[in-house]
Amino acid sequence: MDVVFLSRLQFAMTIMFHYLFPPLTIGLSVLMVAAEGMYLKTGNRCYRSVARFWTRLFGVTFAMGVATGIVNQFQFGTNWAAYARYVGDIFGTALASEGIFAFFLETGFFGVVVFGWNRVSPRFHFFCTFMVMVGGLFSSIWIVIANSWMQTPAGYTIVGTGLDARAHVTDFWAMVLNPSSVDRLVHVWLAAFVLGAFFSLAISAWYALRGKHPETTPIMLKLGLVYAALACTLVMISGDSSARLVAVHQPTKLAAFEGHFDTGTGRSPFALFGYPDAREKKLRYAVEIPWLLSVLTYHSLEDKPVAGLDQTPQQDWPPLPMAFYTFHVMAFLGVYMATVAYLGLFFRWRGTLQRQRWLLVLIMLGGPAAFVANEAGWVAAEVGRQPWIVYGLLRTSDAVSEAVNASHVLSSIIMFLGIYFLMGLLWLYTLRRRVLDGPEPVAPPPADPGLAAGWLASVVDRSEASLEP
């Protein structure tokens, strides 16, 4: 196995594991702010209990996000040294800003939010929760800008050739606001909100099915459904806008998403299913909706085809099945979640949600669906960019470290597999325990000093949980 393949495998593995956590914390932080704000406004202690419950789940996840995040940053240097030299001038400001502006904000206030319920006033605590949300949103800005520059480079010039080539910034704001930055950032945020909403909904729906926590479950369902319906609606609108940008700036990528081989004439169809066969150059077993791709791309009924893969030499095609399936999985799950959220809101408005057990089950399934959709969306975005690491400028195969060989990377892959397996188990175990404990009763019993220790366990407020049986 070659070092390029292994380095890509390792990066995919570590970034996908990492990406389970940050979108969830961003999505949950909005709910925490909402619930805590409602508590301050109404004085209803149910909201406080809900806010504290989400904060405990948030805490577990946040620590995982920080720990796995360092790995990705280091890998730009360890495995992708040629790339790091090439984009250093571009990435520099983005990564430095991310660390300085966002991470300190996030982790600083995180400590107070999770550990400080009884040490600071409710108003200051609310402020800290709000700042954690802002920090989370900030932290995604810079990395998405850097990634967007890799998709649609702008505001740069190439200096030097071969191994000494470097991309230098010529126009900072053109680089930051490159054509895809804003659209992709909005899409990432909204997808994170969808994940936060469905993560919370999955748990509340499970409580509702079991008849648990009758005081707080209806509140969690209400907050979650409103949040999910809003986020799902907006994410579809932003997805449409993102796809149209891809059509303009990365036509090969859109053609790969759609398995659209022949440009042909007339309006292009939208493929629902199929198998993109790169050798035969056609979409096999295709189920297509005529016209739809052209209509979606141009937002008009004009008789105009969308550029197909035949416009690009085959060596510049991304891996087709991967791009096609991940894109479709994301889109279908998005539609599924939106449908479920609207139905949930409808029955909630009718006041019969508790009786629609089938719907509660479908809502629960939205939890895993939201994780899969977030991951699939990123895989589609990144695989669709291949074989380029910086679109049209630098090939992924030219970007790896010269000093690293395949056995090095293989050994680090095995190391990450081992540690991430442990971390994944730990996360699931801790989440399970927090979910089984549930939100605290609204009239709390007198404080009993617990013995929690460690970074995840201490997340449980000391007054309510002792880990000893």
């Binding site: 730009f76 240097g77 520099g92 660390g99 982790t107 600083g108 206030f109 000494d164």
Partner: protein
């Protein structure tokens, strides 16, 4: 200040902040199995760092991001050249996080023991590897004309790397012990911590002396310009004074002073290291013209300048947040909280 120098200084400050802050977290992990006997004592140790270590690690993340941005060629050469050491560092940092939490999942004694040992080893590996990497950057490694690392892994295992690895472990163990002395309530545990503080103080002084002797005899010849020699000598003098002061403060039962002097000692160490390194980031072991310096390995002036504005605007805020958290959690462990 000239932009390249500004970023060199700021990176040194970030690494210094990381060493001072995460240094005591690592130190607590290092001495956990040696000093804490009962489960309660272990919890006291771990509780003292639980709300802080996450934020302390951010300094490392920030250092990494700024290093990448300011000096991408050096970042690429160092991280790819020290591939396995950096992977070991990552493994250790992840393992520390996992172990601190997994120990609490079950209460079987062997289970807790297992993860406490894992935590100790993770902290040991982090400190030793960090020291070894710094030693290599100072001593010089094989570098090619395209700013890439051309050496082998075995070539990194030098005597200086071993010495500095050991010294860094002792430094953090001492720092962590002084931190615990400050945070633990009076009692038999605190007496034990105090005794350990003395032992570590002596071992650290010895190991530091060994490293200095080696550096002055074996590494300095590689440098053509020793313009910073005077500064380095001053820093050395100050460092010795700080260490002696730290011992005096221990003897006079002034734990806060001892801890602050230990932090100042780490700051002084960072300064000394920066003096020896400047203006290199990674030295070539054979040809000084291949050295990766703050001038030939940097981003463009435009980017360095933009980043400077980011840093000037953001660092005061970062310090304010960090200060807030430390203020909220300033109380001693085991004092009534709620």
């Amino acid at each position: 200040m000239e932009l390249h120098v500004f970023w060199f200084v700021l990176l040194a400050l970030m690494l210094m902040a990381y060493a001072i802050l995460d240094g005591f977290d690592l130190g607590v992990g290092l001495v956990l199995n040696l000093l804490a006997k009962s489960e309660d004592e272990k919890r006291t140790f771990l509780d003292s760092i639980a709300p802080l270590w996450d934020g302390n690690e951010v300094w490392l993340v920030c250092f990494g991001g700024a290093f990448f941005g300011a000096f991408p060629d050096a970042y690429a050469a160092a991280f790819s050249g020290f591939y396995l050491p950096f992977m070991a560092l990552l493994a250790a940092l992840l393992l520390r996080a996992v172990a601190m939490e997994l120990r609490n999942v079950e209460s079987w004694p062997w289970w807790r023991r297992l993860w406490d040992v894992a935590l100790g080893l993770a902290c040991l590996l982090t400190s030793a590897v960090a020291g070894g990497i710094l030693a290599n950057a100072l001593q010089g490694v094989p570098l090619g004309v395209h700013h890439e690392f051309t050496g082998t892994l075995a070539g990194l295992a030098t005597p200086l790397a071993g010495l500095m690895g050991f010294k860094t472990v002792m430094l953090f163990a001492l720092h962590g012990t002084l931190y615990l002395r400050l945070r633990v309530a009076p009692g038999p545990l605190r007496a034990r911590i105090e005794r350990a503080g003395w032992i570590l103080w002596i071992v650290y002084l010895l190991s530091f002396t060994a490293v200095q002797l080696y550096v002055w005899n074996n590494v300095f010849w590689a440098y053509t310009s020793l313009a910073h020699l005077t500064l380095a000598r001053l820093a050395m003098g100050l460092k010795v004074a700080l260490m002696l002061g730290c011992g005096l403060a221990l003897a006079h039962k002034r734990p806060a002073v001892a801890f602050l002097l230990s932090a100042a000692n780490i700051a002084c160490l960072a300064f000394l290291y920066a003096c020896l390194l400047f203006p290199n980031l990674i030295a070539s072991h054979s040809d000084p013209s291949l050295n990766l310096t703050i001038y030939n390995a940097s981003s463009t002036l435009g980017t360095l300048s933009t980043m400077r504005w980011v840093a000037l605007a953001g660092m005061p805020l970062a310090l304010a947040y960090t200060g807030t958290v430390y203020w909220v959690f300033r109380a001693r462990v085991k004092t009534p909280e709620d």
